[in-house]
């Protein structure tokens, strides 16, 4: 069934678990559960644990015999139910407009949709946060409506403004800092998404959900002047 991952040793310190399953909430549950169990079973031996869409990488502080890890993995009960995902939903205000998302018009017309339809399709879904990658504080989100899937730009933009909401292939995301990028920009959030001076530099954790809440250009500009914290429900 693929519920049990395969284990690959990458270097004396790095291991990776991989699941032969489609990207889904169920798979994320399995990844997060295994992450918790590893931390419980190998306390003080783990330097870092990181997830990808279908993987969980593990870095030990000291070399560990692979047999130990294989035996431990074999001892886990595959029938044991994984912990449910958290039900926290973060609300991210987004100004969807050509002024804040320079590709909104083109993307809508290429898809034969009105801009309002693109906005509705994007803001009516709940997105699951799987992990952070690409840039500090960049969330890998699952749940983009299939009718919004769009191939990445063949020539990436030299500079995407911080806070940009963008679509790239089957994914959507928010650029936490200004960076080059090949995704299509459809809007912008006034929120700050990453603060390196905080012990936890991001607000949302893997497994939680994100909801995009449309706001007007005026509300966007106002919020930029009066920075606020992200809200959740």
């Amino acid at each position: 069934m693929g519920l049990k991952p395969t284990l690959t040793q990458i270097s004396p310190l790095i291991y990776e678990f991989e699941w032969n399953l489609n990207i889904s909430d169920t798979l994320l549950q399995l990844q997060l559960s295994l992450k918790t169990k590893l931390l419980e079973n190998f306390p003080n031996k783990i330097l870092e644990l990181r997830i990808g869409f279908k993987t969980l990488a593990l870095v030990f502080t000291k070399p560990m015999e692979s047999a130990k890890l294989i035996d431990w993995l074999g001892s886990l009960n595959p029938e044991e139910a994984a912990e449910p995902l958290p039900n926290k939903i973060w609300q991210i205000p987004v100004c969807y407009a050509p002024e804040t998302g320079r590709d909104l018009k083109t993307l809508a017309s290429e898809k034969n949709l009105k801009q309002e339809e693109v906005i509705l399709l994007h803001s009516q879904e709940l997105y699951r946060l799987h992990f952070y990658g690409f840039l500090p504080g960049f969330m890998y989100l699952n749940g983009l409506h299939t009718s919004l899937h769009t191939p990445r730009k063949s020539v990436p933009d030299r500079s995407v403004p911080a806070g940009s909401i963008a679509i790239g292939a089957s994914q959507t995301g928010i650029y936490p800092s200004s960076s080059p990028g090949g995704w299509h920009l459809i809007g912008q959030t006034p929120l700050s998404l990453f603060d390196p001076r905080q012990a936890k530099p991001v607000f949302a954790s893997a497994g939680e959900q994100i909801e995009f809440v449309p706001i007007s250009l005026r509300e966007f500009e106002n919020a930029k002047r009066h920075p606020s914290q992200p809200q959740f429900k």
């Binding site: 990458i10 990181r50 990808g52 690409f134 390196p196």
Partner: protein
């Protein structure tokens, strides 16, 4: 011990001068790169000779044309690339410990051998510590690369420290080897037999696409592996793009990637690679995990 603050002033610099230490550990799950010195071996050696902590911060220099001035006495140590170095206009040995007096000026000229030079300082540079590291990285620290007139703080004793240890020889021979040791990456098994063999039999040339994030080679490798779901990558991970380009990730690399990961370089190999220049030749040697 007296611990007054002194400053190193950047008078002139080429691109790629930055403060680095052993890197940022434990923040990759927020998307934060590891960073840290490209050549850990030389960086660690500089700190060792200074009797510093292994985690102390040093200056990483990647281009000729750096001129710096110290406003107070200290002890420094140079390690890594062999370069033309002048102290107050006088040519000096490019390796080992060096006493510095107030207003001394140090000039780094041509790189004769290697590609990265480290300048360690007694007790380490004292630039801001963010997420347990002083390594500069855009968006994490206020600065990413040094520019003219930047001031970098260090501790001074207000008197020139004397050192009694005899001059320790630093040789860069270890970095001139062509062999880059690597383990098979998670997607290595998906390569066809011919490409798997070519990884070890081919000689690859370092291209000029070389920075703190990645180093590319000139030669292409046949790649039939389909695109994969985004997965964790590490410094030392070698990715193979759909166009057949080999990308060797270095210390400032992203924490995740979507290209097949065909090799994972050893830490020692990463230090060797860091000292390579464009047009240098390398060969991969696959190591077994025991």
């Amino acid at each position: 011990m007296i611990r007054d603050i002194g400053y190193l002033k950047i008078m002139k610099t080429g691109p790629g001068t930055s403060v680095q230490d052993q890197g940022r550990v434990g923040f990759t799950n927020f998307g934060v790169p590891v960073s840290g010195g490209l050549d850990t071996r030389s960086l660690t050696w500089a700190n060792h000779l200074l009797k510093n902590e292994v985690t102390d911060a040093v200056l990483e220099i990647c281009q000729p044309g750096l001129t710096i001035q110290f406003d107070s006495p200290t002890l420094i140590c140079l390690a890594g690339a062999r370069t033309a170095i002048k102290l107050n206009g006088k040519l000096i040995s490019s390796f080992g410990l060096l006493e510095i007096n107030s207003n001394d000026e140090l000039k780094i000229g041509l790189f004769y051998e290697g590609s990265v030079l480290y300048l360690g300082i007694k007790n380490g540079f004292q630039s801001e510590m963010i997420m347990n590291s002083r390594s500069w990285y855009a968006g994490i620290t206020a600065t990413d690369f040094a520019k003219k007139r930047d001031l970098i703080p260090y501790f001074t004793n207000q008197e020139i420290p004397t050192f009694t240890s005899s001059k320790v020889k630093w040789k860069l021979d270890w970095s001139s080897i062509q062999i880059i040791d690597a383990y098979a990456g998670p997607e290595f098994k998906l390569l066809d037999k011919k490409s798997q063999e070519e990884i070890e039999s081919m000689q690859f040339t370092i291209s000029d696409l070389k920075n703190r994030m990645a180093i590319q080679v000139v030669e292409l490798l046949q790649n039939g592996i389909p695109e994969m779901a985004t997965a964790p990558v590490f410094p030392g991970t070698v990715q193979l793009t759909s166009g057949g380009k080999l990308i060797m990730l270095t210390k400032d690399c992203q924490v995740t990637g979507g290209y097949p990961r065909i090799l994972q370089l050893t830490d020692q190999a990463l230090s060797v690679l860091a000292q390579k220049n464009a047009k240098d030749k390398i060969r991969f040697h696959l190591k077994e995990l025991t």
